[in-house]
Symmetry: C2
Subunit: 167 residues, 2 copies
DNA sequence: CTTCGTGCAAAACCTTTGCATTAAA
DNA sequence: TTTAATGCAAAGGTTTTGCACGAAG
């Protein structure tokens, strides 16, 4: 679900503030649950899926417990707000990453160990921009995944991630 | 835009023949159902998802009826055989396209009308190869999706495709 | 107060799988 | 004859939704 909202990536605002701003413009409410989720998501900079956030917030006994539904609904909103973007779906679950205040980059995905390796390259973006405009296409973003085998797996192959590993 | 649909398949082998060859090397069997599915999939050159093939083959009353399970299982094999590749997942379903005898290309996806626009660019592939090898990554393929608005939607916007439209 | 958001459970969806039957080789 | 593939129904796994209750504005 891609909302193409044009809110700016102003480094002066924290993710929470940026999200509040988004909610305001959409006439949505700033709730305790939404702030808990944004905090949790931005507490570190790893890739994550919905279930991981649910695991961290869904079983708490204090005032920070949030339901599974609210996590799904809020991650959706955060994507619309430009705070997150989906990067892959390696095991049947969407994987998100931070998109706010974070430079455009792409990923190499190792078929052996499943690792996501980030990389950044200006030439790619420029080339894509050039191709798009030549077709009359107004580019707002892109997603590039490079498939193959990472350096360490080429030497000593590890097992591929399977669904069983996720239990 | 370059029209890729005119480019030729490998003149030496039809998709069915190529699939037979694959099945042989894997010690799998060439069945009536598998040939029906390959024929159906290559009867035109559009993008498709599993459900469309099931819709075309699952309700027949003649000898060409094939079950849903077999369609899933065979599309999987066809992907392994190099006949198909997954290109996107715009509405929760994997979308396939022909990969056999068909040059590498990428896609622009219009956020307004949902259209997939194919394009081909050698510089992109070369650049990706260069970046990958610089990281010690052994590249076997890639997937590039460019998001934005297509030319016709920039002039007279159409509705975005939603799940409701698929009923 | 009014309306929106939450939490829960159930439903919706797509995909995979166990098993008895059928058919390649 | 041997073993793989099919078809069916049921299960799996993720995401969405209807509804009553609670909370934000």
């Amino acid at each position: 679900m891609s909302d193409l909202s044009q809110l700016s990536h102003d480094p002066d605002f924290s993710p929470v503030e940026k999200f509040r701003e988004f909610l305001l413009t959409k006439n949505l409410r700033t709730t305790r649950e939404r702030e808990i989720i944004v905090d949790e998501v931005f507490s570190d900079h790893e890739h994550f899926d919905t279930d991981e956030i649910v695991a961290r917030l869904g079983n708490r006994t204090d005032s920070k417990r949030v339901s599974r539904s609210s996590v799904y609904r809020t991650l959706d909103l955060m994507e619309q707000a430009g705070l997150l973007r989906k990067v892959a779906r390696p095991n049947g679950r969407e994987v998100y990453e931070h998109d706010y205040g974070y430079p455009q980059h792409d990923h190499m995905i190792c078929a052996k160990c499943g690792e996501l390796i980030e990389f950044h390259n200006d030439e790619i973006s420029e080339l894509i921009e050039k191709i798009a405009s030549a077709e009359g296409f107004l580019r707002t973003g892109h997603r590039l995944e490079v498939y193959g085998t990472c350096e360490s797996c080429r030497r000593g192959p590890r097992r591929k991630i399977s669904k069983l590993d996720l239990i």
